[in-house]
Symmetry: C2
Subunit: 407 residues, 2 copies
Amino acid sequence: MSFSFEIAATTGAARAGIFSTPHGTVETPAFMPVGTLATVKALDPDDLVQMGASMILGNAYHLHLRPGDEIVREMGGLHRFMRWDRPILTDSGGFQVFSLAQLRTVTEEGVEFQSHIDGSRRFFTPEIVMQIERNLGADVIMQFDHVIAGQSDETSARDASERSIRWLNRCLDEVERLEQTRPLEDSPRVVVAPDTSRNHPRLPLPASRLPRQALFPIVQGGIHAHLRREAAEAIRSMNDWPGFGVGGLSVGEEKDAMYEMIDVVDDALPKTHPRYLMGVGFPDDLIEAIRRGIDLFDCVAPTRMGRNGAVFTRDGRLNIKRTEYRTDPRPLDTECDCSACTRFTRAYIRHLFVSDEILGLRLLSLHNVHFLLSLARNARQAILNGDLDNWSRDWLARYRSASPLAV
Amino acid sequence: MSFSFEIAATTGAARAGIFSTPHGTVETPAFMPVGTLATVKALDPDDLVQMGASMILGNAYHLHLRPGDEIVREMGGLHRFMRWDRPILTDSGGFQVFSLAQLRTVTEEGVEFQSHIDGSRRFFTPEIVMQIERNLGADVIMQFDHVIAGQSDETSARDASERSIRWLNRCLDEVERLEQTRPLEDSPRVVVAPDTSRNHPRLPLPASRLPRQALFPIVQGGIHAHLRREAAEAIRSMNDWPGFGVGGLSVGEEKDAMYEMIDVVDDALPKTHPRYLMGVGFPDDLIEAIRRGIDLFDCVAPTRMGRNGAVFTRDGRLNIKRTEYRTDPRPLDTECDCSACTRFTRAYIRHLFVSDEILGLRLLSLHNVHFLLSLARNARQAILNGDLDNWSRDWLARYRSASPLAV
């Protein structure tokens, strides 16, 4: 089948799983590097393969504006366009419409907004966004949702969550319509096989037009536990989804509130399906969320922070621009086996960074992405070993005990 | 021996040679990618190894200002600092002092100038520059010279050329003093062996302090043939040099004048030693100069142009930013085997470029540097095959017949 999720081991709520897609499998928990504009910033696809990345992200909002989803389709879809033959997930652009775009007007129909690139007027509806994600052709596509600030009051949170659920229904209808009328191009590694994981009750699909994209709903509800539960309930009653997104966290709320919401969602969603915590990717959050039953993560932090000189290490964060690293002969992280740490000193990377050399951006991005990929892999191994509690306690203690001076 | 030059085949003035250094050999003719600040801009050392680069450049002026040559020395020298265990050549900074720095005052003693980074006052003398290049520890170090504009009149050209020769004498004295007082650190691939190629008459060196750096003089003289001849003569009478730089070309003069000067210098320099044409690296200039007896080249063009969207191809230059490449499924150059051309379409690279994605800079730099490395390799093969005349005629005809629209 095209999509499936198998659980190999559990420790409390945490799971070591295998998520199968038409472009291969993802061993979970997994961190997914973010390739917003069809490239993980400052990295080469070969770097990502070398680091063992499996699924990466693209973004519907950004790729619709540049180069245009129709162009990506014409070039054979996102996999071929960016030369990534492993799984891809596209975010719907809901977050970007509500954070990047200007002068937006939200109605039940959709969102009118101005492009942050050229100010042109655009209109996103659930249907239009599904068409965009169809053109991009990722394995997993996220629903178009109404995203609000992390500490929004209950009225706003309920309004956005309920609208997101109505939009989900329209997304699902549109995906089905597109499957009928606009089949995806074949791509070399796409295996067309009956999709039993997405046992949709409404419409038996003809054999030649089986869905090869998995639509993930997004559970919203802000920091209000009962809204999260209601959203999960409503979403589950609509369809047998191949997996679930958890949205609207790590957007300004307290960490404790985020962890509490993850607990609530873990309870409210089926244990049998993958859960993707959107936009979360700091090392300690990754571990806390894995312990609470999350399988998939993405975050721009490792590359964005890398471009600002910030480096993840087992002993907390450091900033490579500091003068103290001027002649430091150590690697960024003394225990890391990434291709930056096995080759270069802090002194050299600091020099590159201070001199605005592109290699500096590349090496820090490479290290930070590798750090999170490797962290999720190690957590998975700890689950398989039945040792997650000890492993995560030790890891977090060391990470959090770092001198504040080093941050 | 540490440095030697063997000639395997010739066609007219052109030579296929092997230049040996303490960090390995360079098959000539060769293009040397420029790593001004201890990094070839936008590339990883692994990329350069994959492309078959042998010798690369660093720059004394830039590395003195950032991170400081004393720091590079403390970090084990340039080879270790930037993880390049093949040969390195450092330019003296003469060109930069006379092109980048501000408010310079030239006296017989040296040049006082303001750093282009922070405006700080600096003073370069031949002795100071040799100390900087000693700290950097490259295999080949260039003399400190007085560089002038390409079309300078004879009086200025003579003045600068004669001063450069007096400075060369001071460079040589200082290099000898440094060899006595400040031996280079050992580095893993440095082989300490008697240097018979640089049979210097003045001072027998003790076995433990053999020179492991080759000082190259620079033949100046603008576009005045007799000045070039006089300079070559004066330089040859001073020492048995391990090789020769040819400077002050490709700095604004007519192409024909440049080619004529190369012919003059070819005649005036010993056939037995490598000749390095400084700062020249456009594809047609490379071929014209190889035909005239040049062995080594460097140029920032492939990376600098790459960062502006310009691409070398066998059919002339193209600019990837043009709208016509928006859905072009072809590689940058249809016959190129670099890792950009074997993976990505023009459409994708254009998208990266238009979106200011770092991968775009990397791929264009990678392609352009590979293009020149490969061009020099192919010229070498043509010399070995005895087929240089046909090969170069065909290559230049195709390159120059490109439609002006494509440039």
